[in-house]
């Protein structure tokens, strides 16, 4: 069957872009394209949620348009904004003209003074883009329902200009760290992908992929160490980003294996919380034992 290839192709294309995928990720990407549904990705910090959108845009050889959400973001900020400064200037210039209010209004609220923001931009590309709505959980419910409406109508109304319909419908990816629970309605509109911290094997693959100069044994040691570290009670659990920072630093210094003093002096790259750092330093011998066992099993 031709479709059978679809998943393998997605995996290969992601790998080509340096992204280590797995069955769930490939399936989620495939189905969100096939069913034309937005993909909602949740998971802890630094597990590669945002990266998926970036890589997907490359795989589809299309443009990535990113809307970064934040507390207090509202519809105009995401869609368009009138260029108030220019409008005010223009208004001053019109002062002595005899044009009617209606005429002035038409001049002021024309596309000339319209600044496109990511959402409007994504509706008006020639070719469907990948629209990344990053960290949607930071926006409030009001904004969420506005988004929901846009995701089903694919048109927006600018009061002064009228309704603008999408010229192309983007492939939408939403990410969330679950700062706030998203509404049931939005969830049902999307396909869902949960990305957890990587398994040992996946993490080894990511490290060797992203830090090619690293020695294979060190990559395995680092990954095993990270796996054990995440089992501890930490204030701030390190993600893949931290693993990669650490691996890069160690590889650059040409180390080929971990030892206690090396970990002691470089652990700050991985643990950003002072208490975590201190507690881990205290139980380093224990941790090393576990890493050894882990490596023997794997």
């Amino acid at each position: 069957m031709q479709h059978k290839k679809a998943l393998a192709e997605i995996n290969a294309a992601l790998l080509e872009q340096g992204y280590i995928s797995d069955a769930s990720i490939a399936m989620a990407i495939h189905l969100s394209r096939a069913l034309k549904k937005p993909l909602l990705i949740e998971g802890p910090a630094g597990v590669g949620k945002t990266e998926i959108a970036k890589v997907m845009a490359k795989v589809m050889t299309t443009q990535l348009i990113r809307l970064q959400c934040y507390e207090g973001i509202d519809a105009p900020q995401a869609l368009y904004e009138w260029n108030y400064q220019h409008q005010l200037l223009h208004l001053k210039m019109l002062e002595n003209e005899s044009a009617s209010i209606e005429q002035k209004e038409q001049q002021l609220f024309s596309e000339k003074f319209l600044q496109k923001r990511p959402l409007l931009e994504a509706l008006q590309t020639a070719q469907p883009s990948v629209l990344l709505i990053d960290e949607i959980d930071r926006a409030d419910e009001e904004f969420e329902s506005f988004l929901l409406e846009m995701l089903s109508d694919w048109q927006i109304t600018i009061p002064e200009i009228g309704t603008i319909e999408a010229t192309s419908i983007p492939q939408v990816i939403l990410t969330s760290n679950r700062v706030r629970e998203l509404s049931e309605a939005l969830r049902r509109r999307c396909l869902y992908l949960y990305i957890d911290y990587p398994t040992f094997d996946k993490e080894v693959d990511i490290v060797t992929q992203k830090v090619p100069e690293i020695n294979e044994f060190l990559a395995r040691e680092i990954s095993a160490f990270m796996q054990e570290l995440r089992k501890m009670r930490l204030e701030k659990v390190p993600g893949v980003a931290e693993t990669l920072d650490w691996a890069t630093a160690l590889a650059e210094m040409h180390f080929d294996h971990l030892d206690k003093s090396l970990v002691e002096s470089t652990l700050g790259v991985v643990l950003k919380d002072w208490d975590d750092l201190r507690n881990t330093q205290d139980s380093l011998s224990e941790l090393f034992e576990k890493v050894k066992v882990k490596l023997r099993v794997e």
Binding site: P76, W82, L88, R233
Partner: protein, 371 residues
């Protein structure tokens, strides 16, 4: 004779099964699954499962439940096929009844306990209700009114905090450009009326953590009513219960009647009235839900007597984290209302530095008084 179901029928039946287990799966999702299956070679069973998961799971708790339910579906189907239909139906019925009976007993025991009578009078909101016979599911009308007034008061008290979202009007403040342009244009370009931004009132967020261990059984009625009233108040609130482990009760409490909520609670929570490991449970909360539920706008209420047979260090660590990531931590302690109360309990001692307020609460009057 086995009657094999077609794949479509399986999908429909599995969707129904998920629905019974709290998934919001409707016709849209069923159609999505069928469309999705058409795009993939699902003869490999792992692909079939992956398609169902990707289309039908909508949040993290469903994600964690899915594997189990999927296995269960096929297992039960097999069982039904293996034996005569009638047989299996009967067995099903029986096992269901058996499952429910003991857990309701457990919660009832916890609810009524066997405390000394005089303390019980203090603990119950309305002493007139006969001990042990009180039908807790009948949420007396007067009580329910009182509860809504408590929740309203609480809402009012907590809600008056400004935040970053703005309201535009003419009261002096930070100048707001959008209305400025729109309105002054009508005046022909002179900047006559200035418009200003004003902070908007903040949305309340609450987390309620309730101790339902043995030592709390005196206050059972109060706790359950409190959880129910809060959860159904329209506030943005998450409710957890704990004894030796933690359980997220939010979904179970959202119900049209207290009785239904009570049944749901007793069906799902097995550890009513057991020992307490507050520290570990609070840590579990921080670890699993802290990042998603706590922020600087969240008020955390902990309802517990502080009796802990766990590790005080873990308790301190958890409390520190909760305190650091929320707006205020309020500890409601039933013991605090007695005259000679001193927070000497070890668990409470460890928590004390991270509490903004330690308040007595054994009944609704206490709560009103506090507010």
């Amino acid at each position: 004779m086995k009657r094999k179901l077609s794949i479509d029928q399986h999908v429909i039946q599995f969707c129904r099964f998920l629905r019974e287990n709290g998934f919001a799966v409707g016709p849209t999702e069923e159609v999505d699954v069928l469309n999705a299956l058409a795009t993939i070679d699902w003869s490999q069973s792992q692909y079939f499962k992956e398609v169902l998961r990707t289309v039908l799971v909508k949040n993290i708790s469903q994600y964690h439940l899915f594997d189990e339910l999927y296995t269960k579906y096929w297992r039960e189907l097999k069982r039904a096929e293996d034996s005569k239909l009638k047989d299996s139906q009967e067995r099903d019925k029986q096992s269901k009844a058996k499952q429910q009976a003991p857990s309701i007993e457990v919660i009832k025991n916890w609810l009524h306990g066997n405390p000394q009578d005089e303390i019980k009078e203090v603990a119950q909101y309305s002493p007139g209700v006969a001990k042990g016979k009180a039908d807790l599911s009948a949420f007396a009308e007067e009580e329910s009114r009182e509860w809504s007034s408590v929740v309203r008061m609480l809402k009012k008290q907590l809600e008056n905090q400004p935040n970053r979202r703005s309201i535009h009007n003419k009261k002096p403040g930070k100048i707001s450009l959008r209305p400025l342009v729109r309105h002054n244009m009508r005046k022909g370009g002179e900047l006559l009326d200035l418009y200003f931004k004003h902070p908007k009132k903040q949305k309340l967020k609450l987390v309620l953590l309730c101790d339902v261990s043995k030592s709390m059984d005196l206050y059972a009625r109060f706790i359950i009513q409190m959880m129910y009233a809060f959860q159904n108040s329209g506030l943005q609130i998450e409710t957890f219960v704990f004894s030796t482990s933690l359980y997220r009760a939010t979904r179970l409490l959202k119900s049209h009647s207290l009785k239904k909520a009570l049944n749901a609670l007793s069906d799902h929570i097995e550890e009513w009235g057991s020992g307490t490991r507050i520290g570990d449970c609070l840590w579990e909360f921080v670890d699993r839900y802290g990042r998603s539920l706590l922020d600087r706008k969240t008020y955390v209420f902990i309802m517990s007597d502080g009796w802990d047979n766990g590790n005080a260090e873990v308790m301190e660590k958890a409390m520190k984290k909760i305190k650091g990531n929320s707006k205020k931590v309020i500890w409601l302690n039933p013991l605090a209302s007695s005259a000679n109360f001193a927070p000497e309990v070890q668990g409470l001692q460890a928590a004390l530095p991270y509490i903004d307020a330690l308040l007595p609460a054994t009944n609704i009057k206490d709560l009103k008084y506090i507010l």
